[in-house]
Every structure is written in C-alpha cells, then in structure tokens.
C-alpha cells in the first residue's frame, strides 16, 4: 500500500501545508503509522540561494560537531537552527531535526560543470555513510523535507506543516513492507532539488543500487525508494535528460511495443533501453518526483499501483486516490487516470 499525493501551482503561487495534511490524512488506511512525510518547494525565500540541509541528529554533541566541521571545511554555514517541532502524544521524537543554510566553496571542486551541486552531493553521501548519528534527509535550495515515524496528521502537527508555504508539495503515508519503519525510511526521499514519493516496491533495487553506486552514490536509508532519487539526479541532472526521457528510461515500453513504433522512435527507444538497462525499474510502483521546475508522476508498465490526476487552473494534482485530490481542492474540474508508464508532467511557467 502507501498513499501519495503531490500538487504544483504552475504560476508558483504558494500554498500552506494545511490542505495537503488533510488530503494525506484521508488516506490514513494506506499507511500503518510508521512513516509519513512532506516536502515543500519555495519555503525558504530568505535563504533562497543557500542549500537547506536538513539533518536528523541522534544527539547534538558528537554527530553534530562532526557535521559542523565537515560543512565548515567545504563551505560556509550562513545560518543554522533546530527545526521547530511540537510535541504530539502519538509521536515519539527519536531524532532531533536540524537545518543548516549552507553555501559550498565552488573553487574546492574541480572537474565538474556543476561544482556546487556535486559538492553538496558528496557531502550528503559522506555524512550519511560515515558519521554515525547524523542523517541528511533534505539538501535542496529553497525547499525542505519534513518526515518522521507516525501517522500523517501527527507528523504534520509535529512540524506544524501549515506554517510553511510552497508552490510544490509532495506528501507520503508509509506502509513499510520489506524493511522496518524508521525516520530515515519515511518518504519523501531527497537529494538536491529531487524529491521522491513512492507507493510500491522496486524489485530491481539490487541492480539499480549497484548502478548508482558505480556512479558515486551511496544508499544508506535501508529502503528501496532512495535509489529513485539518485537515478533522477544521475539521468536528469548529470546526464541532462529531460523528465519525459528519464521516465522512458526508468519505465520503458515493452520490446513488442517498441517493435511497433515508427522507425526513428524505435531506434531511439532501443538505444535508450540498452544504455540505461541497469536503471530500468521493475516491480509495482506509483511515483511522483519533484524538482524546483515541476513534478512528474508515473507508474510501472503494467500499472500495479494506483495513480490519478486532477487539474484546476494553474494547479495539477497527482495522487493515489481521487478523494484525496478533492479534499485538497473541492473545485477540481478534470480528473483522469494516466496510462501505465505514461509520465504526467506539471511545469512551472515563469
């Protein structure tokens, strides 16, 4: 199971988190109270040019001292504070959520066209794999993930999610099946601008993981979904593929469908499938991915998980259930179900 919902306002007009909290809570039955989370884009306008690094600390002594040191070595901490939280009877505070607003020193990174992003990616991988008691779970600019083990409404109230205003929101209610529920295993998963919510399981996780690890990513969250964030970062940012093409690589048409395509398209799809064979994701899934420029939703090729789309003017909604969309926006005027593997894309218009 698991429940997902995402929304974008394509004019970048910002929405507070109260609506998505209600929508996700409507899908409580899709989870088991062991993980829920939210991500919002555009919430830190005062620090829009800094990387907002969200970290779970087990304590503020040893792990935090180490993280402070590594960040100061590679850049400048513009501001830092504990993320405000509010005690909830149904939620046990197992970690201390902290946020840094961070500017990396670009001249420390050579051999890349994107020194800041690569610098931050390396820092995230280093902290998460080497520093015990610290886990970076959000590292993009002007965006933030808020997640914990608990029910959707409890996690939302814990972070007082309605105090944040974003033009993109994704939310997830977790029903862990293959690994146990913990704060780091809650969705969304994030790296830089990429955030992912996912219902289902990636049965090709082993292959996908080996593939991204060959490109310098390290999987540390003990669950399959984080690999999707790294695949999008690798294909979308480093290789520069547009979102539609990333989806075509991760959930490509079947070979017999490719055989039926016009020659040029057939040739292209064959090349894409061969190039990105180890990135192909198998198993049942419905996924919504966000970046600062938009959101994309898609399912596995035989559609073993639900996904429904709603539109109302500048707003595009993607969710597991229609009722969740209507909870957020009772006036939504178009509702439809996309085909299996078909990317549904909402882009900001500037």
């Amino acid at each position: 199971m698991c429940g997902i919902i995402g929304v974008i306002d394509r004019t970048m007009s910002r929405m507070d988190g109260s609506h998505i909290k209600r929508a996700l809570s409507l899908m409580d039955e899709r989870g088991s109270g062991e993980g829920a989370g939210y991500v919002a884009y555009g919430i830190y306008p005062d620090y829009a040019d800094c990387y907002a690094i969200h970290v779970f600390f087990d304590n503020l002594l040893e792990p935090k001292t180490k993280v402070d040191a590594i960040l100061k070595q590679w850049g400048r901490i513009v501001h830092q504070e504990e993320i405000p939280t509010y005690e909830q009877p149904g939620l046990k505070k197992e970690h201390i959520p902290w946020r840094y607003f961070f500017k990396p020193y670009a001249d420390l990174m050579v051999g890349t066209t994107n020194p800041d992003d690569d610098n931050v990616t390396n820092l995230v991988m280093k902290i998460n794999s080497e520093i015990e008691g610290a886990l970076v779970f959000s590292s993009g600019k002007n965006l933030g993930v808020f997640k914990a083990s608990g029910w959707p409404e409890d996690v939302a109230n814990f972070y007082r999610i309605e105090d944040y205003e974003g033009y993109i929101w994704l939310a997830h209610n977790r029903y862990p099946t293959n690994t146990s529920g913990w704060w780091g295993g809650a969705h969304p998963f994030n790296l830089l601008d990429w955030s992912v919510v996912h219902n289902g399981e990636i049965t090709s996780y082993g292959t996908n993981r080996r593939y991204v690890e060959g490109h310098g990513y390290q999987c540390t969250m003990l669950t399959d979904t984080e690999v999707v964030a790294y695949l999008f970062d690798l294909l979308g940012r480093k290789h520069g593929l547009p979102s539609e093409m990333v989806v075509e690589a991760l959930a490509p048409p079947f070979w017999d469908e490719i055989d039926e395509m016009p020659e040029k398209k057939e040739e292209f799809m064959k090349a894409l499938r061969l190039t990105y064979g180890p990135a192909l994701m198998n198993g049942p899934f419905a996924i919504v991915v966000a970046t600062k420029d938009g959101i994309v939703g898609f399912t596995d090729r035989i559609k073993l998980r639900p996904l429904i789309v709603g539109e109302n003017g500048s707003k595009l909604y993607i969710s597991s259930e229609e009722a969740a969309i209507r909870t957020m926006d009772p006036d939504v005027d178009t509702i439809y179900m996309p085909r299996a593997g078909e990317p549904v894309i909402g882009r900001v218009v500037e």
């Binding site: 899908m27 559609k303 639900p306 259930e321 909870t327 179900m337």
Partner: protein, 247 residues
Amino acid sequence: MAEPLVIDVKGMHYSPLNKQIRAAVASGVKEIVLNNVLGQRFIGNGVRGDAKITINGVPGGDLGMFMSGPECEVFGNAEHAPGNTMDRGSLIIHGSAGDAVAHSMRGGKVFVEGNIGYRGGIHMKEYEGKRPILVIGGTSHAFLGEYMAGGLILVLGIDNEPAVQDRGIGSGIHGGEIVIRGDVDDNLLGVGAKKVEFTDDDLVRLSPVIEEFCGRFDIDPTPFLDTNYSRIIPASARPFAGKYTWE
C-alpha cells in the same frame, strides 16, 4: 412509503458510518441517502438485505465488498475495486471507477457509466445460478478480465473508437466471457484468450443486459442492439496447465 434515512457524512470516518448503515438495514430501513461522501471506504460492506443506498459524492475503495442484496447508486466517481467479491445486488456508478473494478465478484451487477482503470473484472467467477455482470459504458484500461473464471464483462465503448485500446484483454481467462463493442485488435488479446464471432443468439442472450444498462443511464439502447461486438472467451479451461506442473 417510509422516509429515507439521510446521513450527512462530511468528514465522517467510515467505521461509524458503516455501523450505522448496517444497523439501519438490519432494522428494516429500505432507503438510505448519503450526502457529501468523500473517500469513505467499504460502504455497504457485507450488508445483506434489499435496501437502496444512494451515494452523493466520491466513495472510497472497495465499495459494496461482500455485499449481498442491496443496490448502491453512486452520483460521482468510484475509487479502486467497487464490487470486490460482491455476492448479490447491484452498484450503479454515474461516473468512472478506478482499478480492479468487480474484483473477484461472484454475483450481482456492476454498471459503470464512464471508464474503468486497469484489471477490471479480475478473477470474476460464477457458480450455478450466480453469474456476475460488469458493464462499462466507456472504455477500459489494460488487463480487462484478467484471470477471469466466470461471469460477463460488457464494454460499450461510448465515445471511444475502438472501444478498448489497451493490451492484455482476458489475460489468463479460463471461464466467462468478455464482450466488446466493435472489433478488437488481435494484438490486444492476452495469453489464453481467443476471439470468436458474436452471433444472433448471443445478441438475444445479452439484449436484456444492454437494455437494462441503457435504461439506468438514460441512453437509447437501439444503436447497441446489433451483432457488432467481439466476444472473447477462454482458449482453454486451463491456460497455464503446463506452466508450473507437468503432466
């Protein structure tokens, strides 16, 4: 006639709602109207009797699961698996529905005016006098009638040409029949499914179903009362006989 029981379910959880419905039907209430329905799951689950439940809004998943007798009429869309393992009675949906409509249904009728998602009629079954019927006014996504073991699926394809465009129709079908308006491309047939002619006898047999469906949604049945259908049935009663065991 007694006044219907009207419940405003805005913001209500499905547990107290379904308890209330069950208690009402058990006490002899014949008509229930639910207003402002939004996402409440399991409405009408396991209810026995002959009540009429009118649902204004979008009910949550598994509408009418295990239901035996009542009629639920939905003025709105339905989510996943309406009619799941339904035994008797009917669901009339004035809208579209999600995936796995009529999942494992074993009796009664599910009428969907609009479209349905993937795996409609998955593992429908029949036994002696019990023969479930799923009728779709619009179109269906892939794997319609997957692992179907009995019953009837009828797709009229209104405003859709061809009526069904998605693959895997009747994948693993080993009982029952799928009837689709117009021709069906052979490439869309699933493993174990075969297409046969839709005969005059079939039309005589199915005319009452077509007329009843059209009657419920104020559609003129005349254009649908001909033999321009494709009939899809099992190629064999055991399509996977040699797949996991060897004889």
